[in-house]
């Protein structure tokens, strides 16, 4: 049976609404936390999907932006909760516990770092691009380890989850509602971006860089803008992830995380709107259910990934819809 992709997308969204509501009724708060984790990872992967899926850039360093978002949240909340001043060169702040401000800082910081990383790394392509983004990832990872002021290798704990007006974010379903809403907003933006002249030009640049130049488009500029938007979204996800765990650590910068984000997209379907969502749900489900059975659950993940790469190049969405690519 082949499903229409639009129905499948609708089903996914319905599932992400229904499961937490069931968990509330069944008094299963841990299930809500699991789905929240999946939603946040999906959000990060949607960010990566802009550069990987539309732009064809295999960034192996997207954990940088995830980590920056996490540390933006951690540092701002740490100073706000410990009533210590955060000195930022010309001005001093007391930090903040207000989520929208934290998200804004996370997105701006991640976007800025993405701009500078993109400026350097987008001069390369293929395996060199993968390696240079990986190198940036490792630089940030080791910087975080040596950043003793904010916990170094041990990371940084936040006592209380940050605030959002009108909601009690410590109640799992309410925090989930925030994450789910943000995911929906970003998915909407992704769909708009993919169909916009910018998204189409980015897609065209992925297919043929020289050819887009002859129609007046600058592939470097297109890719850089995509990289910045992508980094900002992944940074937002990092801030939410840190809030979910109330903890940030250098592992948020790790290359394994960068790899996992790529894996999520491949499982779901590269360049597909809901590819990262379905990939994140499968990943978190495997991590939870197989993780209870064995510490080596990644082996099974590897087998699934292998099968998808060999037999279903459009990811799970491609298998379910019978369409290998977004336009086939």
């Amino acid at each position: 049976m082949r499903l229409d992709e639009k129905y499948l997308n609708g089903l996914m969204i319905a599932g992400l609404l229904a499961l937490p509501l069931w968990a509330v009724m069944a008094d299963q708060p841990f299930t809500i936390t699991l789905v929240t984790r999946a939603v946040i990872l999906a959000l990060a992967a949607v960010g990566l999907n802009i550069v990987l899926g539309i732009g064809g850039m295999v960034s192996f360093g997207h954990a940088v932006f995830f980590g920056i978002g996490g540390y933006a949240m951690g540092i701002l909340a740490f100073h706000a909760q410990t009533y210590t001043a955060l000195e930022l060169g010309l001005f001093t702040t007391d930090g903040t516990k207000f989520m929208p401000v934290i998200w804004l800082v996370a997105m701006i910081t991640s976007g800025l770092v993405a701009f500078f990383i993109g400026l350097l790394s987008l001069r390369t392509s293929g395996v060199y691009f993968i390696m240079i983004t990986l190198a940036f990832g490792q630089m940030f990872f080791y910087f975080a380890i040596s950043w003793a002021q904010y916990g170094g290798e041990d990371g940084l704990s936040i006592y209380v989850r940050n605030d959002f007006p009108g909601l009690n974010t410590l109640i799992p379903i309410q925090f989930y509602a925030i994450c789910f809403t943000l995911l929906c907003v970003v998915l909407f933006l992704f769909a708009r971006l993919q169909a916009s002249p910018f998204g189409l030009a980015l897609n065209a640049a992925r297919q043929a860089g020289t050819r887009v130049e002859t129609v007046g488009l600058n592939p470097m500029r297109l890719k850089l803008l995509a990289f910045v938007i992508s980094g900002a979204i992944t940074g937002l996800a990092g801030a939410l992830f840190a809030d979910l765990n109330r903890f940030v650590s250098p592992t948020m910068f790790s290359w394994q995380l960068s790899g996992e984000l790529i894996v999520l997209i491949i499982i779901g379907g590269v360049g597909r709107l809901m590819g990262p969502v379905i990939g994140a749900c499968v990943f978190v489900a495997l991590e939870h259910f197989l993780g209870e059975l064995t510490d080596f659950w990644h082996v099974y993940l590897g087998v699934i990934l292998l099968c998808i790469v060999l037999f279903g190049r459009g990811g799970l969405i491609g298998l379910l819809t019978g369409k290998e690519g977004a336009h086939v």
Binding site: L200, Q207, E213, T214, L217
Partner: protein, 228 residues
């Protein structure tokens, strides 16, 4: 007024020199046939105009030296290229191919689909799934969507069925009659070229060896330089 002025243009692929002195002038609204046997430098001249290869000499579009511009900026100055081999964006639909390249101007999606009704009928179809002729129409439509002042068509009818070739030549005649765009044509069909072109420039071994009014291209000149 001269739109494109090329004087003593030379270009190389690495150590191998391909152009030794190309001269070509085009005016707005004029159709020029760039002729010559295979390997004489026609496509290289086009690549030099579009700045996809390095070149030396005079290369001026409407008073602007193209040598100081990057390839995408040349296109933005008004040079629209229909490359050899069509080269549409295979994964995008017809509509998306056209929108991706669009810039403000007289040429819109509607006008392009009026010129090529087949494209209108297949707007939602992937470029890769189109026939060769439809892909060629799409390549021309995509170039028109950039609203060029100079449209370059490199072997636009090569390998196409006669009926499709007729459609493309008819579209070129319409472009000539209804717009003020200058067109630089490379094609093997001398008869069709003669029907639409105002002027001809003939290249041999990377040099301009003949230029003048198309009507002056005699059988002798044609056989001598083009082999037809």
């Amino acid at each position: 007024m001269t739109l494109l002025r090329i004087e003593n243009l030379s270009a190389s692929y690495g150590v191998s020199q391909a152009l030794f002195g190309v001269d070509l002038q085009m005016r707005q609204g004029e159709v020029t046939a760039l002729m010559g046997r295979n390997g004489m430098g026609k496509t290289t001249t086009v690549k030099a105009i579009c700045r996809t290869i390095r070149s030396e000499g005079t290369l001026v579009l409407d008073g602007q030296d193209l040598h100081v511009l990057a390839s995408h900026k040349v296109a933005r100055k008004g040079v629209g290229l229909v490359p050899e081999g069509r080269r549409c964006f295979a994964d995008l639909t017809v509509r998306e191919n056209l929108i991706a390249a669009a810039r403000p101007g007289d040429w819109t999606l509607r006008r392009v689909t009026e010129l090529f009704p087949r494209l209108g009928e297949r707007q939602g179809q992937r470029a890769a799934s189109l026939s060769g002729g439809e892909q060629q129409m799409l390549a021309i439509g995509r170039a028109l969507m950039t609203n060029p002042r100079l449209l370059i068509l490199d072997e636009a009818t090569e390998g196409l069925a006669p009926i499709v070739r007729q459609e493309i030549w008819a579209a070129l005649h319409r472009l000539k009659q209804e717009t003020n765009v200058a067109i630089l044509l490379i094609d093997k069909s001398l008869k069709e070229l003669a029907g639409v072109s105002d002027k001809a420039v003939i290249l041999e071994r990377g040099r301009t060896v003949w230029s003048g009014v198309m009507a002056d291209v005699t059988q002798d000149i044609s056989e001598r330089y083009v082999g037809v």
